[in-house]
């Protein structure tokens, strides 16, 4: 650990706290254990992770089967019955257009999951490719990509979000890209850091000396080493992506009506907070629970995949 830091202070400096935990140890051969069993054991060890997992599963089910679960049509307008407090028919009451709030929240789950997952996939895909390129292309390209990444990270996020949001419009695609473009520099740094670390290993030097192609090294050595930290970071940033989408919706740059986006619903109900607090608090509670769940599951996966934890949960 100490030598590595001395060799490569930049990487250690830039790495988010706790990331050095992802370093994979290559030297020791592992004792034969059932990987999946061990994973589940570590993963389910912390109660808070289990709670988070339950939240995620509930919301996942709500999103997958929203048409079966939701008691009403989330788009059905009833102007005569708007802004009703909770009743037996409308469990959470109705919004300003008389739509069932509960049904809208249930349908919103699908939207939140779709935007969150696709945002993370797009940003990690762009980021990984750029990170690999930076790690393996020449000095010029490396500098260019990494300096631009630094500049991108120094921009106020509001500017990026407003810019991309306004350019790409208020559809699902626009929102996903707006958030993804805010997140992808993190992946560049992650993958670049992994490449740098792995590159220093003797066996890479050896295979380079033996005339292996760069592509082969990438696929044989670099990518397998990147997978674990990538999975962990992707799970951990799911929550951030969902929250960023909600934030955009909240400031009025989110999904166009009448789509039941949780951020938009929070914003719409905002004015009635004093006398109908559920209108705003219920969708934001759903949001917080989902993000909490994602974060905790991410934590659990990190713990379970963390080599330092291997064998510790006997």
């Amino acid at each position: 650990m100490a030598t590595e830091m001395t060799n490569n202070p930049k990487r250690a400096v830039n790495a988010p706290p706790g990331e050095e935990a992802f370093e994979v140890l290559f030297e020791e051969p592992l004792p034969p254990v059932n990987e999946f069993k061990r994973f589940m054991k570590v993963f389910l060890h912390r109660k808070v992770v289990v709670v988070g997992l339950v939240f995620v599963i509930i919301i996942l089910v709500a999103g997958l089967f929203s048409y079966q679960i939701a008691p009403h049509d989330p788009f059905q307008i009833n102007l005569l019955n708007n802004l009703q407090p909770p009743s037996s028919e409308f469990l959470l009451g109705t919004d300003d257009l008389g739509r069932c709030l509960l049904s809208r929240i249930i349908h919103g789950a699908r939207l939140a999951l779709i935007t969150g997952v696709s945002t993370v996939f797009i940003s990690s895909a762009i980021g990984s490719v750029l990170g690999l390129v930076a790690g393996f292309a020449g000095k010029v390209v490396e500098d260019l990509i990494m300096r631009l990444t630094d500049a991108w990270l120094s921009l106020p996020p509001l500017i990026i979000m407003m810019f991309v949001g306004v350019i790409l419009g208020r559809g699902v695609v626009g929102i996903v890209f707006a958030v993804a473009l805010g997140m992808f520099p993190g992946y560049i740094r992650l993958v670049y850091g992994q490449v740098m670390t792995v590159k220093q290993n003797d066996y890479i030097m050896a295979s380079l000396a033996m005339g292996d192609s760069k592509m082969r090294i990438i696929f044989r050595h670099i990518l397998p080493n990147c997978i674990t930290p990538l999975i962990v970071t992707m799970t951990m940033s799911l929550g951030g992506a969902v929250m960023a989408e909600a934030g955009l919706s909240f400031i009025g740059l989110g999904l166009a009506p009448p789509s039941p986006a949780w951020g938009t619903m929070t914003n719409d109900g905002y004015m009635h907070l004093a006398h109908l607090p559920l209108l705003s608090l219920a969708p934001s509670a759903a949001l917080v629970l989902l993000v909490f769940g994602f974060n905790m599951v991410g934590d659990g996966i990190r713990d379970a995949l963390d080599p330092k934890m291997r064998g510790t949960m006997e």
Binding site: F75, I77, L79, L80, N82, D96, L97, G98, V166, R170, A256, P257, P258, D268, Y270, M271, H272, L273, A274, H275
Partner: protein
């Protein structure tokens, strides 16, 4: 809620009748027009207290609360400014500028003239020059707020002439104004080549200091906002707050007064709502809003709502689409008008402050017709479906709906979309930012249904030219209401000086003819003030004169 709308509607009708009758009976200012040829139909009102108010206006009770204290006002957001103040005083932010700026005259919301620094005016005709003139006589002893160069710079005829020249230099004089001269210390003469209803009101703009300008230039004026109103500026932070303090010279002993005014820009609705309900520090006495939801909520809580519905939300479609386009078909347009449940939308989403309407002239303006059957076809979805079938669109069609940002809420757009879906028209709601929306509207070639407030109302004759005139090369405010000869004649007729109510009605009849339906009016709305019950001295319908009414009782 319906009852409230009904009462409000009745009240506005009565109000309008009173205003209309008042036109014949208002006194003429001192030294009335005697010059030959002076067509002087404009009856200049006297001091404000002589003007007829709303009939329901209760006599103002001066209890302790109206004396002293600081009035805190939240106008929502600030406007752009070239003058170092958070607004541009020459523009329409009248309710914000009232505590500070003053000119010779101002305008009532219906377009008629109100005297401020001027004590009265004479309209005449100069035979030698062949020009009309308006002589304004200033009140004596008016001084500006104390500033760095002078404690009490006097406001005299020379200053007014200088101000007028400055406006001519930086911007432009009103159409038809030829020259401004000082007749004596207190009398200024404005020469005009023609007279319009609004002529006496359009004068020299905001009174400010000539000394500062000559010493420090335009930037000096920005840094030292000076005028002659009841309050002077102590501190101004753009986008945050303005603090006004009482201008001692302005106030007469023994009458109600305020120690100061604070303007805070509360952008957040929740903060506004809570501040309105707070009592101690962090209180706000009045909030200006465009949101019916907010106003309706406070109306139910016993707050005063000052509402002047001077905008009409209308549906507009292009007139130069291909002839076989569904939106070009008069039957489809009628069907659209019949599809929209105006009562339902205003009841559920207008919260008792929006008024459903079938005509575009608001009920407070001249030219409004008090016949419930006048205007666009009323709500009748059954008949609408028949019309769609007659027009050959029994299976409906798809198009886009563009709600104007800031005027039509997303919920209202969704409600309209659902109404239209009932008769087979599937619309996609296109939410746009303000500037792209304006740019799109200005251009021809867009396709779909525009919903918003596009009519600028001040005087019948101005709005006619602004909204409906469409000459070659003229700024197409009103995209493609390509006017026929007949329409142009009506527009010309409306510009006569005097009572042009009949002409305004004729134009409305033309535009709303069921075979044209250039516009489909939906409801009336306007900027509202929510006023805490502790405040006295307001009137429920004036909003531009809010500050004036509140304390200028001398």
């Amino acid at each position: 809620m319906k009852k409230v709308v009904g009462i409000f509607f009745a009240a506005t009708m009565v109000m309008l009748l009173v205003v209309a009758c008042a036109g014949d009976s208002v006194q003429v200012a001192p030294g009335a027009a005697e010059a030959p040829g002076a067509a002087d139909p404009t009856a200049p009102p006297g001091r404000p207290e002589e003007l007829p108010g709303a009939p329901e206006e209760a006599p103002i009770v001066y209890d302790g609360a109206t004396r002293g204290g600081v009035f805190i006002y939240a106008p929502g957001s600030d406007g752009p400014s070239q003058f170092g103040l958070p607004w541009d005083p020459t523009l329409g932010f009248a309710s914000v500028t009232e505590p500070f700026t003053e000119g010779l005259t101002a305008q009532w919301p219906d377009g008629s003239t109100r005297l401020v620094l001027s004590s009265g005016y004479v309209v005449g005709f100069d035979d030698e020059l062949g020009l009309y003139y308006v002589d304004h006589t200033l009140h004596p002893n008016i001084v500006l707020h104390p500033h760095i160069l002078h404690d009490a710079e006097p406001v005299d005829a020379e200053l007014i002439v200088w101000l007028a020249d400055r406006i001519n230099y930086y911007r432009t004089w009103p159409d038809g104004m030829i020259d401004v001269v000082a007749i004596d210390d207190l009398t200024v003469r404005f020469y005009w080549d023609h007279m319009r209803n609004a002529t006496p009101a359009i004068t020299s703009g905001w009174v400010t200091s000539r000394l500062i300008y000559e010493a420090y230039g335009e930037e000096g004026l920005n840094a030292n906002p000076v005028s002659a109103g009841p309050f002077r500026v102590v501190e101004s932070v753009p986008g945050s707050h303005v603090i006004f303090e009482r201008f001692e010279n302005y106030w007469r002993e023994g009458l109600p007064y305020l120690d100061g005014v604070q303007i805070v820009y509360l952008g957040d609705v929740l903060v506004q709502n809570i501040a309105l309900q707070a009592e101690g520090e962090g209180r706000v006495d009045s909030v200006a809003t465009n949101t019916a939801e907010q106003a309706g909520m406070f109306q139910d809580m016993g707050y005063h709502i000052m509402n002047l519905p001077n905008q009409t939300i209308t549906i507009v479609m292009q007139n130069d689409l291909p002839a076989d386009h569904p939106l070009m078909n008069p039957l489809v347009r009628q069907a659209i008008s019949m599809a929209i449940d105006r009562d339902g939308i205003t009841r559920a989403l207008g919260f008792g402050v929006h008024i459903p309407t079938l005509q575009y002239i608001p009920s407070l303006m001249r030219g409004h017709v008090f016949d419930p059957n006048f205007g666009a076809p009323a709500f009748n979805p059954g008949r609408a479906r028949e019309l769609m079938a007659e027009a050959g669109f029994a299976d409906g069609f798809s198009t886009q709906l563009f709600p104007q940002p800031g005027s039509v809420t997303d919920s209202q757009a969704v409600a309209m979309a659902s109404n239209l879906a009932d008769i087979g028209i599937n619309v996609e709601i296109m939410v746009m930012e303000g500037t792209p929306f304006t740019e799109m509207r200005r251009e021809t070639g867009w396709e779909g249904i525009l919903v918003g407030n596009f009519i600028s109302w001040f005087h019948a004759e101005d709005s006619a030219s602004v909204n409906f005139e469409h000459r070659e090369g003229l700024l197409p405010n009103w995209v493609s209401l390509v006017p026929s000869e007949e329409m142009l004649e009506l527009i010309t007729a409306i510009r006569i000086v005097g009572d042009n109510t009949a002409q305004a009605v004729a134009l409305a009849e033309y535009v709303l003819d069921h075979n044209r339906l250039h516009l489909i009016p939906l409801w009336q709305q306007g900027r509202m003030h929510i006023v805490h019950p502790r405040i006295h001295g307001y009137t429920p319908t004036d909003h531009m004169l809010f500050f004036y009414r509140l304390w200028m009782e001398d």
